[in-house]
């Protein structure tokens, strides 16, 4: 499996990964735009609207029946946050041509359909159709509202707002429900045209071989966009600051504790691999310091983990606990954070963590969806790292570099989602 990386036109890159092991072909188009409060909603609706219908298949049901005929092919849209960039992602997945019962060219057809959806949507009098916009507005607004259903996700989003107030990082990737409801077809159409003009684009083709006709169709499509001028997408590293605390009460049984840390290390900083390894040592594996101590030794929780966002340079530690144990859990987490920074871990623990991370990187190439996610996360890079390259960087990190990385961690926020009627405030 070798990665072919070609620039189709300025800021439009096509990555091709021919791989005959898979029975599924996958074409992913990532359109990267700055995440701003003014544009987040009108851009967020686009992947859903564009994959709902197109000029060639204006009727949703007719389109879906066409996809069923193509062996259950699926085209879908979603939005991801990559640092402080909004990634609008369109994906087509289908069976590889060799499994078609009647010799159809399934992968090329699906890729061509995705291209049609992006450049030739179903418009009426030059704007998106009102009924399509209304359906996708309602669905998107419900997705945003449903954030509260999943308490871990909700608590994470609230902690991000607490840690990074007034920064693009705290803008939800879909935006606000009330602003979604206010979108108009004209506004959304203007956003679509802007995205075609200004987005940095990554097209990832995963199939048995290359799909040159698809590459050419996308190249022609972007070359035909008038006034195309990609805008830079940048993520501002979080500055260290005094910790802020917030307790929110809701009708829940279990508290969700989220602690945010600034690391001072992000993007292309040389210490990023060491920071990744340090964070994994703290709470990234089943035998991490947090799991060994907060869960196994003190029986305070079912889960306790840490995650590093290397683009923003922040770490979040998460756990679900009884309210009576929240303060104790926080203290123990801080104690484990100090253990990493003070070098109070064994060489064996460090090597176990490194081994687990390296095997995870080695496994990325065995799952088509994981490969897609791997490259979308690096969609702004002209030369994205392969999992093997990242693995080698982790292998080269020293114990001293891990300790030095952890010394940079500074607590920035403590957020607690707690049951109504309780008395503990963090």
């Amino acid at each position: 499996m070798s990665l072919c990386n070609r620039e189709l036109c300025p800021s439009v890159r096509c990555l091709t990964l021919p791989d005959a092991r898979f029975k599924t072909a996958r074409i992913t188009v990532g359109l990267f735009m700055p995440l701003t409060k003014d544009t987040v909603e009108e851009q967020a609706i686009l992947p859903f609207l564009l994959t709902r219908a197109c000029a060639k298949y204006p009727d949703f049901t007719a389109l879906q029946r066409h996809l069923n005929r193509l062996y259950g092919a699926a085209v879908s849209g979603d939005v991801a946050r990559v640092g402080e960039t909004q990634a609008l992602v369109l994906t087509a997945e289908c069976t590889a041509d060799r499994y078609a019962l009647h010799g159809e060219t399934v992968a090329a057809d699906c890729a061509a359909l995705l291209c049609e959806m992006l450049f030739a949507p179903a418009l009426e009098n030059g704007v998106f159709r009102a009924q399509d916009v209304e359906i996708e507005k309602r669905c998107l607004a419900q997705t945003v509202a449903a954030q509260v259903n999943e308490k871990q996700w909700y608590a994470q989003c609230q902690a991000e707002k607490l840690l990074c107030p007034d920064e693009a990082y705290s803008i939800g990737r879909y935006g606000e429900g009330s602003r979604i409801e206010a979108l108009t077809p004209e506004q959304v159409t203007a956003a679509w045209k802007r995205v075609l003009r200004e987005a940095t684009v990554q097209i990832l083709v995963q199939d048995e071989g290359e799909l040159p006709a698809v590459e050419e169709a996308f190249r022609r499509g972007f070359a035909a966009v008038e006034g195309r001028a990609p805008v830079p997408c940048e993520t501002v590293k979080l500055a260290k600051r005094d910790a802020v605390r917030r307790t929110e009460r809701m009708d829940v049984n279990q508290c969700k504790l989220v602690m945010g840390f600034a690391t001072g290390c992000a993007g292309k900083d040389a210490a990023v691999p060491a920071m990744r390894l340090a964070c994994a040592l703290l709470g990234g594996t089943a035998t991490s310091l947090l799991m060994r101590n907060v869960r196994e030794k003190l029986s305070l929780c079912y889960y306790c983990s840490s995650q590093y966002d290397r683009l923003k340079g922040v770490i979040f530690v998460k756990s679900g606990v009884e309210e009576a144990n929240a303060a104790r859990t926080e203290q123990e987490i801080l104690r484990q954070v100090a253990c990493v920074a003070n070098g109070e871990f064994t060489d064996a623990q460090l090597e176990e963590t490194r081994r687990a991370m390296c095997q995870a990187f080695e496994g990325v190439g065995d799952a088509g969806a994981a490969i897609g996610a791997w490259y979308v996360a690096q969609g702004l890079s002209d030369t994205p790292e392969t999992p093997e390259e990242t693995k080698r960087k982790i292998e080269a990190v020293t114990r001293e570099q891990v300790i030095e990385a952890a010394k940079q961690w500074q607590l920035g926020c403590v957020y607690l989602l707690a049951p109504k009627g309780g008395v503990t405030d963090v």
């Binding site: 898979f22 029946r65 069976t95 009924q131 089943a286 196994e296 305070l300 081994r355 687990a356 065995d366």
Partner: protein
């Protein structure tokens, strides 16, 4: 020694192998050329529905959640935790308890022999003390609390309570904080002895693995037994459901709903011996009833009654089978009415042959994609063993399925007298508003 039997599928170009080890354990191996990942599952036919057993003529009723508790505790032995041993190999290990089985698994790209050794060893070496069992109560208590705050889990669990009178599928897999308080080391040992032995278990390995590796490790680690596999007692479950409607208030934005149709079981002993053809027909019927290409999906979307969370699925296990239709809606009753009307229309008018062919094509394509990863292949082997089927059988049945088989399911499975609706509604809602 039993020789490896190859099971090949020309459509997929895939082959897996199985044999019974001299210890008695069924072994399944699916080598995946070119893959670096190995995925292994060691499982027992012991799950949450096994809530009682008879020994020397005496029935022991088990506390709800004990199979899941046992899963947690098995990772610990006298010297160390199995996760510590996996940490040395670098494998990513986990376990889960379902209604009808408990599985211990790992995936890795290196040190496969060592990881497989850890798996086969710790699952066969229980070690429970009052102290270690007590320590786990707080951890599992928090897992239960987490589940109680999950609306999607609650809407499903409540539906099972509304559908089933006696079948233990209506009991939460993890139990309750009160029920797990009754669990003791002695009880865990009794369950272990009953359900964890090679005649009630299987090993499935897929990915970067050879038959020789599995032979060698099975010989080294497996412990033979003279115990026989326990037989699940039939449950005398009435056809009718318990209650037609069940509701819970939670912190949610939009009501969640799940409409269930309880399917009459054809087997008196309640085993999951549904023929592959029936499962294939159900998969195609799911697509016809609620797939994105269905007229119902488009209608409900246009009327503003559903969003992308809408789903229709068939679910079956030992002694139970049901259809579920669910998602989020401001008006679950209206969605249910539309669904019932669509089922009635199709029962009356029959299924359009073009729609049948397209739906069958879609299911066929998705099943092909299912064999793309070591994890999926391993899980197919597990399902095959649990249901007594060849892992490729459902795909083969889909490829040759006829419209009548699907129509028969439609006629047989959907009876409004056996259905119940479960809703989770926003806690600010006044009583009955969403009904």
């Amino acid at each position: 020694m039993c020789k490896w039997q190859a099971v090949s599928n020309a459509r997929l170009g895939e082959t897996y192998y199985h044999r019974r080890h001299s210890s008695g354990l069924p072994l399944y191996v699916w080598p995946k050329e070119g893959f670096r990942t190995t995925y292994a599952v060691f499982l027992t036919k012991y799950g949450a529905i096994d809530n009682a057993f008879v020994e020397n003529g005496e029935t022991t009723v088990l506390p709800a959640g004990i199979a899941h508790y046992l899963e947690h505790k098995l990772f610990e032995n006298e010297e160390c935790d199995a996760f510590d041993r996996y940490a040395e190999t670098g494998a990513n290990a986990n376990a889960y308890t379902s209604f009808d089985h408990t599985a211990y698994l790992f995936s890795c790209t290196q040190n496969t022999d060592e990881s497989l050794g850890v798996l086969l060893d710790f699952v066969q070496a229980p070690y429970f003390t009052a102290q270690t069992v007590e320590k786990e109560r707080g951890i599992i208590g928090q897992e239960i609390r987490m589940g109680e705050d999950s609306p999607s889990r609650q809407v499903f669990c409540n539906l099972m309570k509304a559908l089933y009178h006696h079948h233990p599928v209506s009991i939460d897999i993890a139990g309750t904080v009160d029920s797990i308080a009754e669990i003791t080391p002695e009880l865990l040992y009794r369950c272990y002895e009953r359900f964890y032995h090679v005649n009630n278990m299987a090993l499935a390995v897929a990915g970067d693995i050879s038959l020789e590796q599995v032979d060698r490790l099975a010989d080294a680690w497996l412990k033979p037994t003279d115990k026989t596999a326990p037989v699940r007692a039939a449950v005398d479950e009435p056809t009718a459901c318990v209650q037609p409607y069940i509701e819970e208030k939670m912190e949610v934005a939009t009501p969640l709903f799940n409409l269930g149709y309880k399917v009459p079981m054809n087997t008196s002993e309640g085993l999951p011996d549904e023929p592959a053809r029936g499962v294939a027909a159900a998969a195609v019927l799911e697509e016809i009833l609620g797939g994105h290409a269905s007229p119902l999906y488009a209608q409900l979307m246009e009327e503003g009654l559903i969003n992308a969370s809408f789903d229709v699925s068939y679910w079956t296990g030992p002694g139970f089978a049901c259809w579920m239709m669910g998602g989020e809606s401001d008006d679950p009753q209206a969605v249910c009415a539309a669904f019932k009307a669509e089922v009635a229309r199709l029962q009356r008018e029959g299924i359009d042959p073009d729609v049948f062919e397209e739906s069958r094509n879609a299911v066929y394509g998705r099943m092909i994609s299912q064999t793309d990863s070591a994890e999926n292949c391993g899980d197919l082997l597990v399902d095959g063993w649990l249901c007594g089927r060849d892992a490729f059988s459902i795909l083969d049945e889909v490829a040759t399925l006829d419209i009548q088989s699907v129509y028969d399911r439609l006629r047989h499975d959907f009876d409004e007298r056996t259905c119940a609706l479960s809703c989770v509604i926003p806690n600010q809602t006044e009583e009955g508003v969403s009904r």
